[in-house]
């Protein structure tokens, strides 16, 4: 873990995750940077509050599994893995290049800490169901976290997985949905209306919570409740996030699924992030 001292706040972790992601985005000049900025708070709470892991031993059997279903969010997860000390920070400049451990779409075979290959959307939750069943077979007390997107709610396979998790009573599975309401063709709810979402998961026998995914305190409370909830049910944390969060001129872009950012704008974005008060 980068030596930035003890008792670093989750807000500071989130700020640094945003910073790593922006620096990777700058390498390519474009990318899924708005999603990374939006989900940074969720990743901060995941990696610096909720998850059990050993940075020096990414495949330690006693770790909680964190599965990234949304392969194109790799830039966000790499930023969190860098902040967690699983990937060295100096690999940022290799992002998306030849002979890199950080390809544009996340794959288990390339990157330490990347549990599954995402990207063919709608796979992650079902794989996580299998991992959760496997952990129970091993009498493990660890959790499987699966981060997926509101766009993946369009995939039928997501609901096959959701129904089975409820049916199996997988209380060691914690789903995290990033509802940033933006997918490739535009606002997610306008492509295929998935609302009302919380009652849907409740109807599938999940313990469901919906929180502001950019409110660290709310996220901490939700993750704590998800882990300690007594019912034998899978847990879902529906996180409403803002695309581009923390960089106002990127938040304001209308079609920001795949952002093209001008060369001079990266430094402006970093300056905004760096000007945030350290907490």
């Amino acid at each position: 873990m980068p030596d930035i001292g003890h008792n670093v706040s989750l807000r500071e972790r989130a700020r640094r995750i945003r910073r790593h992601a922006l620096r990777m985005g700058e390498v390519q000049g474009q990318g899924y940077i708005a999603q990374a900025l939006g989900v940074a708070d969720v990743l901060s709470v995941s990696y610096f509050h909720a998850l059990t892991y050993r940075p020096e031993e990414p495949e330690w059997e006693g770790r909680d599994r964190f599965c990234l279903s949304i392969g194109h969010y790799a830039i966000a997860l790499y930023a969190a893995l860098i902040e967690a000390g699983i990937i060295p920070e100096d690999e940022i400049e290799s992002y998306g290049g030849d002979d890199s451990r950080l390809p544009m779409s996340g794959m288990a075979a390339y990157t330490p800490g990347m549990e599954i290959t995402g990207g063919s959307l709608g796979h992650g939750l079902g794989i996580s169901v299998g991992m959760a069943l496997g952990l129970k077979r091993k009498a493990s007390k660890n959790f499987v976290y699966n981060l997926f997107s509101d766009g993946e709610l369009d995939e039928g396979s997501t609901w096959e997985a959701a129904m089975s998790a409820g049916s199996f009573g997988l209380d060691n599975l914690i789903g995290i949905v990033d509802v940033n309401n933006m997918q490739a063709d535009g606002p997610s709810t306008q492509q295929m209306n998935f609302e009302p979402l919380k009652p849907k998961f409740e109807a599938f026998n999940w313990f469901a919570q919906r929180v502001d995914g950019n409110d660290i305190d709310a996220l901490v409370a939700a993750f704590d409740k998800a882990r300690s909830h007594p019912e034998k049910k899978p847990r879902i944390i529906i996180c409403d996030t803002k695309m581009g969060r923390g960089v106002p001129f990127l938040e304001a872009r209308e079609r920001n699924h795949f952002l093209r950012v001008e060369a001079d704008e990266w430094q402006k974005a970093l300056d905004i992030i760096d000007a945030e008060p350290r907490q």
């Binding site: 709608g122 796979h123 079902g126 794989i127 299998g130 496997g134 096959e160 997985a161």
Partner: protein, 344 residues
């Protein structure tokens, strides 16, 4: 057979016409011939036995345990069986997850559902990661009279293009019993075409031993070399017996592993001069064993005295009784023998 749905079958109105008496009957039609020896549920028995000494084995099905013989395993090892419901995508995703946690999942469904519906999940969640999942599927090729919804006539074509995937097409119960321990020892994804229920016993009489990735010559002959897999090997052997009465000597090379293909043995046998090659497979003529062999021959510079395929046509096939359909499409022993005779 198939005609306008607005034309009634003529024999219903004309007492002078012969009434067809063949019945489609159950989904999984029997492929055994009259008086053929059979063995019950060889896959289920073999897996249940193997699991006694291999704790990593778990079984999953998508509401077809009974129809893939996995119910035998489930009865013996109920705590190691997962019912995934009628959800083949989930079946493959969950198998991937269990494999990630160190288990060896055996996932069963029908071949149509694995190859058509769950392709992306097998490809990305399992094969791309080279995960140790065994996918065992009933109703391969033309083994049901229920029509295209259940006839996996192109499963090999679909799966041959998938990197990392080993593909096995066993012939009979004797072979299935040997395939199960062989593929558990192979680390990586395997697609196995499954014959279930009372499965014919043929290859024990040939002293046959299955070896993953190896083709085996079951009988030699000077007039034609049949290269076959799956149930077409028993048809080829029966056809060879029929043709022997016409003083024709037919060699049969059984190729149970479709991928990786045993090109060395195929080139060696096909390279023996003077006899044409006939590839017989329970699969569409496109993209299966026939084209795999043709490619190997061309790449290997081996030109046999003729090359023919006995395979299903590039069409959606008819519904009806399986023996009728096997005659119609040239897969029955009599039809195989007739085709070969006509080509000599």
């Amino acid at each position: 057979m198939r005609r306008s749905k607005y034309i009634r079958p003529a024999w219903l109105d004309d007492a002078g016409l012969e009434r067809p008496n063949a019945k489609t009957s159950a989904m999984i039609a029997s492929i055994e011939g009259p008086d053929q020896r059979t063995s019950p549920t060889p896959f289920g028995n073999a897996l249940a036995k193997l699991a006694e000494t291999s704790p990593k084995i778990v079984g999953l099905s998508a509401d077809l345990a009974k129809y893939t013989d996995l119910h035998i395993f489930a009865q013996k090892h109920p705590d190691r069986f997962y019912q995934m419901g009628m959800a083949e995508q989930l079946l493959m995703m969950a198998s991937a997850g269990l494999a990630r946690e160190g288990f060896q999942p055996w996932a069963t469904t029908y071949a149509v559902f694995a190859s058509r519906r769950a392709y992306d999940f097998i490809c990305l969640a399992i094969a791309e990661e080279n995960l140790d999942v065994k996918i065992c599927c009933a109703l391969p090729g033309l083994t049901t009279g229920y029509g295209p919804s259940h006839q996996a006539t192109e499963d090999l074509a679909i799966f041959r293009g998938m990197p990392n995937l080993t593909i096995v097409d066993p012939c009979d119960a004797h072979e299935i019993e040997q395939v199960v321990p062989a593929i558990t020892a192979h680390k990586g994804p395997v697609y196995m075409r499954l014959l279930r229920g009372n499965v014919p016993l043929v290859l024990d009489e040939y002293g046959y031993r299955f070896e993953l990735g190896r083709a085996k010559l079951l009988r030699d002959g000077a007039d034609t070399l049949i290269i076959s897999s799956g149930l077409m090997t028993m048809r080829a052997l029966e056809a060879a017996d029929i043709l022997e009465k016409d003083n024709l000597s037919i060699a049969v090379l059984h190729v149970p592993t479709i991928k990786p293909l045993d090109e060395v043995t195929i080139l060696q046998e096909a390279g023996k001069t003077g006899r044409p090659v006939v590839v017989a497979e329970n699969h569409t003529i496109i993209g299966g064993l026939g084209e795999a062999v043709a490619g190997a021959l061309l790449r290997g510079g081996v030109m046999p005295a003729g090359f023919r395929q006995i395979a299903l046509p590039d069409r959606f096939l008819e519904a009806g009784a399986l023996p009728t359909l096997h005659d119609l499409y040239g897969l029955s022993s009599q039809a195989v023998a007739a085709s070969i005779k006509s080509w000599l």
